[in-house]
């Protein structure tokens, strides 16, 4: 994302109000003023004035602590729904040091941190995810009780364009097992083994995918063997939306997500067919991401 993804805190974006400790401070000031008036004591007056003046001056410091900070945010790596998404928020300081900054969203607040002069500090905001799709960066608030803890300066809610992709939640083991029709099924629904070429068996090696274990030979008592396939590009697995027809749309996406992960893990060449979207068979990390992205962003028409 380009420079537009940055917010600069100007005077109009910063607000200041007393904290609860600030109200306590005011209370003590009033008591001091009463003592000063009653005893007509010049130095008690002066101390009251000094404290009041310091509170006023601290407003300036509080505002200055946030002023002209640049905030940028970037989405982290895609996650599966249910996992926390990581958003990286960076504070760029083009001026003197800033202290005790606290990044807050509606739900959470991070521990305060400093940004040294002419430096950048980044924090990772972890956000719980529930549904697939784009997760927008929640409105951010930058706040600080610097310098005396009696005032709180905070920025107007900053809406950053950063977002994080959330893949569908992969279907869990049991629903995957029941839908896929048990172990060793050579023809799982939804996984159309289109032109797949079985080339033979070899001895099992640690790390081989369970899906490739030849259960039939094992049942015959001939030991553990792994099925070997040669899968030319033209002959690949298709993960098809229509194959999961009896399920609801979200469950189908969830199952397809699981199927994608299984296919990738099994080293298959696989393609994805969704209404309106066809991704030609391939494999590899980028292909997996493209498939999952399609699933994450698939629009369901009721």
């Amino acid at each position: 994302m380009a420079d537009g993804a940055e917010a600069v805190l100007g005077t109009r974006q910063i607000y200041i109000l007393p904290t609860r400790h600030g109200l306590l401070f005011v209370l003590v000031l009033v008591a001091l003023a009463l003592a000063a008036v009653n005893y007509n004591n010049a130095l008690a007056y002066l101390l009251t004035f000094l404290l009041a003046s310091m509170a006023v001056v601290s407003l300036l410091h509080a505002q200055r602590n946030l002023l002209k900070l640049r905030v940028s945010a970037a989405g982290g790596d895609p996650v599966f729904a249910g996992e926390p998404a990581a958003l990286r928020v960076c504070l760029h300081n083009d001026s003197g040091a800033r202290y005790a900054l606290r990044l807050e969203t509606k739900q959470t607040a991070l521990a305060p941190f400093d940004v040294p002069a002419h430096d950048t500090r980044c924090v990772v905001l972890s956000i719980p995810t529930l549904t697939r799709g784009w997760l927008a960066c929640p409105p951010l608030t930058l706040a600080s009780v610097y310098p005396l803890g009696i005032t709180r300066a905070w920025s107007r809610r900053l809406s950053m364009p950063a977002r994080c992709l959330v893949y569908p939640k992969p279907a869990d083991e049991t629903s995957w097992q029941t839908t896929a029709g048990g172990t060793g099924g050579e023809s799982q629904p939804g996984v159309l083994q289109d032109g797949e070429d079985f080339t033979g068996l070899r001895a099992y090696q640690a790390g081989d995918a369970p899906a490739r274990i030849s259960w039939k030979t094992l049942a015959r008592g001939q030991g553990l063997h792994t099925k070997e396939f040669r899968a030319p590009l033209a002959e690949s697995v298709w993960l098809d939306w229509e194959a999961f027809a009896p399920h609801t749309a979200e469950t189908r996406l969830s199952l397809l997500c699981r199927a994608t992960l299984e296919a990738e893990d099994s080293g298959l060449t696989y393609g994805l067919r969704l209404p309106g979207v066809v991704i030609e068979p391939d494999n590899g990390a980028l292909h997996r991401h493209r498939c999952l992205e399609a699933l994450a962003l698939h629009e369901v028409h009721a």
Partner: protein
Amino acid sequence: MKSTPEILRQENALAERAAGYWLLGAAVVALLPHVPRLPVWLSAVLAALFTWRFLMVQRAWPAPNRWWRWIFTALLVFLLYRQYGTLFGRDAGSALLASMLALKFLELQRLRDYVLSVLLVYFLIALGFLYSQAMWLVVYLIAVFVLTTATLVRLAVPGARARFALRLAGVLMLQALPLMLVMHLLFPRLQGALWGLPHDAHAGLTGISEEMYPGSIHELSLSEDIAFRAHFPGAVPPPAQRYWRTLVLWSTDGQRWTRGLATHARLEYEAQGSPISYTLTPEPANKPWLPALDLPAQVPPGTRLRSGLVLETAVPVRGRLSLEMSAHTRYRMLALPESERRAGLQRPELISARVQGLAAGWRQSARSEADVVRAALAHFRTEKFYYTLEPPALEDNPVDEFLFETRRGYCEHFAAAFVTLMRSAGIPARVVTGYQGGELNPSGNYLIVRQLDAHAWAEVWLPDQGWARVDPTAAIAPERIEYGTEGIRRLLERGAALGGSPSEALRDLLALGAFEQVRQQLRLSWDAANTAWQRWVLSYDQARQRELLAQLGFEDVHPLRLLGLLALLIALVMGLYVMLTRRRVQRPDPVQRAYFSFCRKLAQIGLVRAPQEGALTFAERGARQLPQLAAGIHAITHFYLRLRYGDHENVAAQREFARRVAAFRARRG
């Protein structure tokens, strides 16, 4: 927020790490000036509680549980009540506050408890000022104030270093000073207390007392305490005119002189010349009477006139007070009221035949009252009377013993004897006590009058003049008037004969050594600072505020308008600060900016440049991790390095670089 025990424990641990020792330290130093006034048992209890707190911080000692705290609190309150008979007022109040603070230290849990304790320390500082407003204390308490504020900073900024916290506290205080000054000068002042002042507010103050007896003025002759200061906008009157009349004493039993006739009077006399105006700043003496230069030309607001034309305030002078006064030193009175005649002729029952005989002799040979006065003064001079700073003690009939036996005395002996003689001769006479002289401080054009300048003299009624001052001391020892009590002391120490030595000889004797000169100069400068402090800070009140505003061109400002003016000035100062402390943003140059944008693009796909990582190293790492982008990364990095370390001025190349960065697409895979 829910405060589960776990959260509480964490919050306490954080606050304690940030400010545990600081809070304790601030409380201890703020309490130190109070210690001499606190009962010994309380100091011991406080020390024990603070030690406990210290061990809680250092050795993780346990806090007493709630029941023990209740018991401690109740016990302390009970003991304090027994000690003071009350829990309010200055003494009991500060003892109570110190105790509560120390007890609070045993139950610090929330951040709020810490903040509250810090605020109580501020209060403790203020209570210190109710006892003393000396400048050294102020300097000390400023240091305490900075430490206290630094404690607040450490609570607000986790991980703030000691130097950082102290410096920030100092900066905040210094920046607050101008605002404080504006508030001090313009904040509307009230006259008088909001509720009755406790009796303990003023005690142990010295000054001229209501009575005069042999030795009463002499008691003050060693006290260098300042009685009052007088600022003269014009010329300062010469020493011989510096008679500060304070009390007029009519009534005597032969030993003691008291006021007797103390009725209200009116300002009736015939003045000559224009009045001398001055500002009188008395030190608090807890007495209503005011030392005024000779005869007052007017009665300042808040004061009243007693018979004998002396002034007193409506309430005893306990706080800082500044009065605009004016005086006449040349005047004439026309009629002697009957009450004053009777009081002025009242002879003590205790009067010896010798004394009456002496007076009667002068009366017979004199043609006028003035002749009697002259005869009496001549008698003091010729009959070997001595002015001494160590007068011998007198027994039952002091006037008789002084006149015929000891013949050595301080001013009150001469004044009492002279007035008794005049009354015996049928001339109305009265004793006046007050101060004579004063030290001129050239750095401020004002006189410092100390308790040792206390003096007593006489006034007699002369038909063609009215009440006229006669100072028998001046007749015996004119040096007392010319050089003051301090000068006399020095002359007598160096063996000079008073009353007749040539003045050059005296001056030589009075000359100060180099060391003494420096000492005197320092003393005068210090006093000038102290006086300005007193005039502009300690005695700054409604009247002085009004005067200042009038000088600025604001007459009779309503308090609300004053507040408005104050707000305006505060806004002005703050505006100035905003301008002075503007954030000077130093954005990187266009090339660097573009490069940072390039780094950000890479950061978004997970390749983050470490703070110390050089551009080349970063590029190599990037090419390894993202081989598909290697070409782009290398091209941009080399372009960047060329611009940065070679081609500085090439604007076109800079633009081209920015364009290339903008075109760079960071994609995984």
